[in-house]
Structure formats: C-alpha cells, structure tokens
Point group: C2
Amino acid sequence: MVVYAGQGDPRRSIELLWRGSAVENRPGPKPGLSVDLIVDAGIAVADEQGMAFSMRAVGERLGRTAMALYTYVPGKNELVDLMYDRAMASLPTVYVLDDGWRPAVTAWAHDMWEFYGRHPWVLQVSQARPVLGPHEFAVIEALAAILVSTGLPGRRLRGIVGAINYFVRGAAQTIAEARAAGGATGEADEEWWYARSAVLVELEPDLAKKFPMLHVLENDREPVDPSLPYLENDALENFRSGLGVLLDGIEAAVAKP
Amino acid sequence: MVVYAGQGDPRRSIELLWRGSAVENRPGPKPGLSVDLIVDAGIAVADEQGMAFSMRAVGERLGRTAMALYTYVPGKNELVDLMYDRAMASLPTVYVLDDGWRPAVTAWAHDMWEFYGRHPWVLQVSQARPVLGPHEFAVIEALAAILVSTGLPGRRLRGIVGAINYFVRGAAQTIAEARAAGGATGEADEEWWYARSAVLVELEPDLAKKFPMLHVLENDREPVDPSLPYLENDALENFRSGLGVLLDGIEAAVAKP
DNA sequence: CGAGGTTACTTTACGTCGTAAGGAGTCGCA
DNA sequence: TGCGACTCCTTACGACGTAAAGTAACCTCG
C-alpha cells in the first residue's frame, strides 16, 4: 500500500494532528480506547509487519474489532498520518552548534538514519504531500535552525534542506526495505543477494564486460567490518561518504558568495 | 501497494529480465499474448492509474482475463520488475564528456527527473533490492562512466552514485506523488495546499512563531515563473539548486585528494 | 427515577484485490 | 488418430478497507 497524506477531510485530519481528540463529559458509554492508544498500537503493529498492516490487526492488538477504530479515526490514511507524526516525536528538536553547523547536521542525519531503521514503514508515507503534523515540523525546523547558522539565504537553504532530506531518506530506504523484504520472505539479505547474483552470473557471465564502470565501483573495496552484515555495512559506509560529499557542497556554498 | 523486487523464484525472474521468453515451436494453441505485450500494457495502465493498478486491468486492456497473464508471468511482483526495467530502456545510456563531468551528470539527473515524471509508479518500486535488470544496470553504468572520468576512486564514487540517485529520486517523488495524489482525489496541487494550509493557519495561528526557521526558509522567494504550477515550480527550483550543491561537493572531492 | 438521545462497539456485508484450482478447447507430433 | 502440452477461461478463496445497521451502556433532563 502507498499512503498519500490525508485524502479525507483536511480539517478533521489536521485537528487530530494538532489538537488530539476532545474529551469532554459526553453521554454514552465510557470510551475504552483513545486516539493515542490506537496510534501507539498502530505503530507497534507497523514496526512488526510493515506498512501492509491491517486495521483488523490494530484492532485485535487492542482487543477490539477493526470497526471500533473508526469511532476514533476517520480511516486508515488518517491513522497512518497520525502514526507518522507521533513516531517523529521521538526525535531531538535541538542540536548544539558549539562546533559549527557541520557536526550538527551530521548528528541530525544520523538520528534520522536510526529513526528510519526503527520505523521503516515511515519511509513509505508519501513525502510529496507532507503530513503537516507538529512533530514533522519540529524535525525540519531543527535542521533549518542549524542551516540558518551558515548565513546562507533561505532561498538557497530550501534546496539544501531538500537535498539532505532526500539523501537520508534514500540511503535509509536501502537497508530498511532490504530488511523488510528479507523478513517478508524469511530470507536474510545475504541469502537473497547470493541467490540472485549467482543466477545472474550464471545467465550473464560477461556482466563485468558489459558494465565495466559498475565493475570498477563495486570492486574497489576496503577491508570490511565483520560485525555487521555485508549489505548493512555497505549501506552505512555509503551513507557516511555520500553525506560527506553533500556537506562539502554546502561548505563550498558558504565559502563562496 | 509496495513492491519488493522479485520475491518469487530468482531464476525465473532473472531469466525473464535478461532473456525474455523462449518462443520455439511448441504444441498447444498459438499464444495470443507475449511477455512484451503484457509488460507494455502494464506500463500503460500504471502510467494512468499508478502503482495500484490491478492484474484485471492489465488483462482487460489486452482483451483477456487477469488469469491469462499468469501463463506468461509468475505474478504481479515479477510483472512490476519487468515493467520497471523495460521503462528504463527509454533512457540514454551514454553521455558526452566534452565539457567535463559536471554538465554530463546534470544531463543525467534531468533525464531521470523527466523519466520519473513520465512513470511516477517507478518511484514506488523498492530501491533496496535492485531489480537487477539490464536496463537498470545500463542507466547506472552511464552515471558511473561519467563519474569515473573525475579520477576519483571507486570506493568514493559508490557513495556519490548513491547520493545522486537518492537525491534525484527524492526530488522527483515530491512532484510525482503530488500529481498522483491530486489525480486520485481530483484535486489539483494548489487546491490541496490551499485547503490544508488554510485550516492549519486557522487552527494554529502562530505557526510562524513556533517554527521561525522554517518561516525564514519559506518566505525568502524570488519572482515566480507563472507558466508552471506553484508546487512544480518550487520543486524544480529546489531540484536544480540542490543538485548544484551536490555537484559542488563532488567538485571539492575532485580538487582535494 | 425513568425516558430519550447519544455514544462505543459489534456483526454482517460489499466490492476490491492477488492468485490457486480445475476445466475447455487447440495444436504438434507419434 | 490420439496423446500430451499448451493457452485461456470460470470459479473460488481469503485477505483487505469500510459502509450500514444493530445492541447495549451511559448522561441529561423531566
């Protein structure tokens, strides 16, 4: 499933995101659940089963049927929006600038990287139409605050914020989805790669000749840290290295007008 | 729906990707379809309806039932893999280096940007476990070939290829999914934004004070090209600007050891 | 204290999806 | 001529999100 942010009534969605649910003294039976409980259960289920979690599963975790959730939440899309924003509440919102913007941005990026690792399903929530929740705002505000300290104008920073965001998301996707897919089929990353590349080499023996430049990239390797799985190690190294290049670009922008 | 690459038999998937289907003289009725026909129909349907297209829809476009497709293709996942790789066949595989690597990388990135605009559903195919098809290889080989000309070692280039890829994908997603979501609900981007931000401002009047740095970024604007929709214009500007920063970073890496 | 309206939650049901199973008809080859 | 392989169809299953309608709990007002 792909979730586009809030296809329902915008007012209802945004009220839920920013205000929570009103809890006055109302007639009828006492609510046994709450939006917060449902959102937490949703996050727990999604952490286990990925974005393809079902309303029935969330209901079951709370000892209710799927339809009970619809008393609190307009639909699955809105629930995902709430889950998305609530998950982001676990992220820092302030970074120290004592050593300048560069270590701060690096810390921000690593926090995001780990966050995506904890909640891979978040990567599936559409980035195009931001959920516009308070915690998402806070997270980007934190990055913006760091970058404003470079002195670059807002006009330039918008592209930079985007670039950093896209990069971190993309890099995180590389391992997050690998893990998810492995979990779905019960295969570990390694096995998946072995099986596939073995068949590929068998069917197309002269791959290295057909794509010589890729061969160059793939085969220039340093000794590997054996404590991490191969793919994960690779992904983390590429993350650090790519982020470094990106930050060098910002540094160049700061240095020159 | 989210598609993880080839969860089925790896051999079957990769054979289909690299060899196509064998068409000897076989008993039984003459095949009325072919893998290629099905893949083309799939791309056409996905271009219209997004990744949530159904096997039934693809079959109908070919005057068959959904089940008829299963004679040629093991399942929807594998079909998506094939669609993904075939769509990539429309991309250039060689870029001239007469003016150096920078304009070449820029051209590559813009070609990808437009490609994602033509086939937004491609952005939904998992990047984590590459489909490993010949055309995907060719596209990355093209980028690798450009970057090798910088003289940087493969070890460094891997992170850079990743960074460029993630950035372009992420930036493209911003408008591609906005368009798709607009199409799904019949709302244009503008309307969607207006409706949401109006409610947001109403419910949270002092947004600008709560997130002052975001406010700085958002309000430092140049005159806008009125020929493009607002969001699209914004996205394209951020794309160009962010790509510039990224390329500056590569330039720094090339200049220094 | 009792009636009426409101609410929480359930059961049932609909339309969608991917695809498994089995059957009908068609063709190459013995 | 018939066997076996093949294409394609119909039917069916179990999942999904959620609409509709019912039941029981609870507050407020008379």
